[in-house]
Subunit: 607 residues, 2 copies
């Protein structure tokens, strides 16, 4: 009798607590069309580490860890919290390597290393770059930082005041410091670098300050500049040469980075590279999207404004441009093209293709052949009124004249609004489900263009904007998108823009955060909400997952509201100024009632 | 067979998860001598609310809630976190009333109300007093606030810039604002008010700024001043009159608050009332300890310096002094006497007595008859070199001439150091165990007196101090003290000073926090460590426990390092200046490696 009871209990315990979900996984239905079969996600780190914000070179944010399943996720609890000591928007991804967690804070960009081998995860070291206070004044949209990179025993990160810094990951000692930009011209750096083939790739921010965008490659060992490619100007500055193979007519010509601008306006034309970089080792190409042209008032810059609001494929060794896709030529809505490019191999119309998936600010998911820059499909994932679809032949959007801003006139109901169908907040892709998980905005705007004057280091915008919720009233949506089936598989509507990153796991769980502070898990196949925890502040950070020294899977995320969308709280802005934060405050006037500021990393684990 | 299994499981589940521990409680051993029998803790709130920092008028911090037991506490987990949005020391106790949690932050003293009836505990309202920035500059030891009070549908709290504010607890609307002190003379307010018999009792801070201490009673309905009693000056200012019954010789005489000072130095003589108040409704007495005399350099103020560093019993209606005990006449070590007075009825030497328990800065636990001010016992609870015990006949410490500071000479190995055997961090008393739970410091100091010049509103100290760990090297100790047996029952040594409050529960669990961020639970009878959780920042706040709307017991505490002990982190002080924070930095140079700043309330619950 006793032994039966014990056996029964043992079974019960296994049923409740086992993390081995192989049986369930074998039983899951076949993935949707095009998924898994033929899909390849290069660079997935099976070590259980998480060494880049995007996890792998293809920016999949898909972890092969599977202890946390759609069942066990319901038991997830807070294992550890660590206050960063700062109050502005925390957009970074925590990293894990060698049983150490690395966190970089918003300005002043302090880096912490936490020792995961000790039960209480103590501070191993901290590094304070002691930055120049001036940087804070020239950052357009909060003083965020989108994360560091661990590579070969070194932590690489950027500071708002234009430094790239390499630290010994074990000790926090400086290896080198490279000064890259000029704060007096409005330059800052907010992006996470990409480290590939011995190079540290860094781009600048400041598209609202008349900055000229660039992507710079530093030698990872020394910090010396290997090459720099500008986003505007003559071909030699843009590193356009014989290897450049433009696929669409409007990309062809000499020095388009000069001739598609009036006068010398390309010198303050934007095209900053402040978002995500991906890398294909087989093709030896790095993919870097360029930001909006400046100023926002497009009447001041007739022409296509090359090479802003598009994406370059460049040789990682030399920086030479190999192809460019101009997503939004002569952008008039602040549709930066800096969003993540997720590199996967998919069967498109029955043909295996090396593609990149790009859910863009302009509201379309682009599926682009990453060898050539050919757009295969482009479908709206949010409500779009700003364009009438994408002309795949011409390789550019079908413009709507009635939505084009005019100086002195308020153009209404432009959807998506300036922050786009999604902004920088990165998607994830699961090869198990074949879905792209998009943290999306549902925002429209009224836009009045006004004359902007260029004064170096000051705002150069030329627009009065007011944003508001799109159809349905929800300002955000978490979307599972089938890029092969070209359809929304499922979605979860959210009150606020979903301004966090996403992680997808082999346990078929997707994690994301909300601006009112919830960290949420959903079933990756069905969208069923499985679990949530309300953190101390709104989440605009990037979740990640790792295998701890105890062999268990953990999930971590930075809580700490801010960024462009959360500036109303992080910056304590007056909600009566509806055009504050470039018009975002109008859409977020209720955020101060929903959350408070403060940066903390949360580590969640199973019991 | 199946039914047996189910029955067995049911039993097992009850064994593991039941919160009904009555069986265990019936089985606990009889309490130690003097405890429980005859012990009375007036005012314990059985509602499951926690409406004052000290819980009840007797400041017991003993909760009758017993769902969290010495067994079940091991299952405690984080249920909710809420970022306060501020980075300085969080010394307040969260309050709970009407299913709402109230939190007051350090300067600028924002108040939050959280709705506990909703699963995600959203913000119900927030109140920003928009204080004067100047207050920050004159607070000696971080810009802390020790909590609000809920009474009769109203939240009462003090601001650093000398306002007492009454808010409608339901809406957060202001009922009244009373301006009490003068920031230009260095006055601030950091203490939690006590509300009793329709009066709001408030004292000032600024003992290091040449402030003259006072206790003020405001009409709870209007905020109008009912009475004010100074700690120095003529009897009429001190509210010493015919009802005053001094018990010891040195307390007898006319206008001792003038005559025990040189010249008019009593006007900037300190005696600020920035700590804890207790109230005995049956005796109609409020107990208020007075702070250190100023300046610290005692050679500038020969005499007993009445009525600083002692405790008054006053009629709550009129403020009239009924008795005073001068714990540290002519204090020379910054031994404020503002610590909590815990009111209990105990059998002392076989005689039932109405007493107060006072673990004091000077290192002794005083057991005082609270009807008369007679000291019954006074025993050291920490290492003491500064005095040779307490002369119960004379009612004053036996001084050590060799430890008395001298201008121009460094006197070494003074124990306890200026923050005392314990500082403001409040103890708890369990009538079930009969123990007083003392969050203690183990600090000594080297002290060099120097000449201080009084300039209104500026520091008036006159001492160079360096603190360091006392014997054993641990800077803190959590002590269970048997006030009847006059002995340490058990203790837990801690690396840093234990600068948090304590809560004791009917589940025989005691909770406290540490400056490196751990929230800990111990067995109230044995001191066995039962559970801990590392919060985001060091804990200097006061834990509390309450019954949630779901009938379950929760425990909450503010994490957020700072205060005098944590100023090195909260204020970002340079650890190379060993005399910074009045010498505390020398003892806390390793704190920045152990914790980061940031205020968050943590709510813990059982699964």
């Amino acid at each position: 009798m006793r032994s039966s009871l014990v056996a029964g209990l043992a079974l019960l315990l296994i049923g409740c607590h086992s993390n081995d979900s192989s049986a369930e996984r074998a039983a899951v239905p076949a993935p949707p069309t095009g998924a898994s079969t033929g899909a390849s996600v290069p660079g997935v780190d099976a070590s259980g580490n998480w060494t880049r914000p995007g996890l792998d070179y293809s920016s999949s944010r898909f972890s092969s860890l599977d202890q946390i399943t759609t069942d066990s996720v319901r038991q997830l609890g807070v294992r550890q919290t660590f206050s960063t000591g700062f109050l502005r928007g925390h957009e970074a991804a925590p990293l894990v390597a060698n049983n150490t967690m690395f966190i970089v804070t918003p300005f002043p960009n302090v880096v912490y290393a936490l020792d995961l081998t000790k039960p209480d995860i103590p501070l191993k070291w901290m590094y304070d770059p002691k930055p120049l206070g001036a940087a804070q004044g020239v950052a357009c949209c909060d003083v965020v930082n989108r994360g560091a990179v661990f590579d070969n025993g070194t932590i690489f990160f950027n500071t708002l005041d234009n430094r790239t810094i390499a630290l010994d990951a074990e000790t926090g000692q400086e290896k080198w410091v490279a000064a890259l930009g000029d704060i007096n011209r409005g330059e800052t750096i907010t992006m996470a670098p990409l480290v590939a083939k011995g190079k540290v790739l860094v781009g600048n921010s400041g598209g609202e300050m008349g900055v000229r965008g660039w992507l710079t490659a530093l030698d990872a060992a020394t910090g010396k500049i290997a090459w720099r490619a500008y986003s505007t100007g003559p071909d030699k500055d843009v590193l356009i040469g014989p290897r450049f193979k433009p696929l669409y007519d409007h990309l062809k010509g000499q020095d388009l980075g000069v001739h598609t601008w009036p006068g010398e306006s390309w010198k303050q034309g934007g095209g900053t590279i402040w978002g995500w970089l991906s890398y294909d080792p087989a093709l030896n190409l790095v993919y870097a999207g360029t930001g909006n042209p400046g100023p926002w008032n497009h009447e001041q810059r007739p022409g296509d404004n090359k090479w802003t609001s598009g994406i370059f494929a460049r040789d990682v060794d030399t920086g030479e441009a190999v192809w460019f896709y101009h997503t939004d030529p002569h952008d008039v809505f602040d549709y930066d093209d800096v969003n993540e490019a997720i590199l996967v191999d998919l069967s498109i119309n029955g043909v295996p293709r090396k593609v990149m998936l790009r859910p863009d600010r302009d509201g379309y998911v682009y599926v682009i052949d990453r060898t050539s820059g050919e757009v295969l499909t482009a479908d709206p994932f949010v409500h779009v009124t700003s364009t009438n679809g994408i002309d795949l032949k011409q390789g550019r959007p079908v413009e709507r004249e009635d939505k084009k801003p005019v100086v002195g006139k308020v153009i209404r109901e432009i959807c998506p609004a300036a922050p786009g169908g999604k902004d920088w907040q990165p998607s994830a892709y699961s090869p198990r489900t074949g879905y792209l998980y998009i943290p999306a905005n549902n925002l429209c705007m009224d836009f009045e263009a006004v004359e902007a004057n260029y004064i170096a280091g000051t705002p150069f915008v030329g627009a009065n904007v007011r944003m508001y919720a799109g159809p349905g009233g929800n300002r955000g949506e978490f979307i599972a998108w089938d890029p092969v089936g070209r359809r929304k598989a499922w979605s979860i509507k959210e009150k606020f823009p979903v301004w966090s990153g996403v992680v997808a796991t082999a346990g078929d769980v997707v994690f994301y955060g909300t601006m009112d502070g919830f960290f949420k898990a959903a079933n990756a196949r069905t969208g069923e909400p499985l679990w949530q925890f309300k953190t101390g502040s709104g989440i605009v950070g990037q979740p990640m997952t790792y295998r701890g020294p105890d062999g268990k899977q953990y999930v971590a995320v930075l809580s700490g509201v801010g960024g462009w969308s959360g500036a109303v709280v992080a910056g304590g802005l007056d909600t009566r100024d509806t055009t504050a934060a470039l018009g975002f405050v109008n859409a977020m006037a209720d955020l101060p009632q929903a959350t408070t500021r403060g940066g903390t990393v949360y580590i969640f684990g199973l019991p």
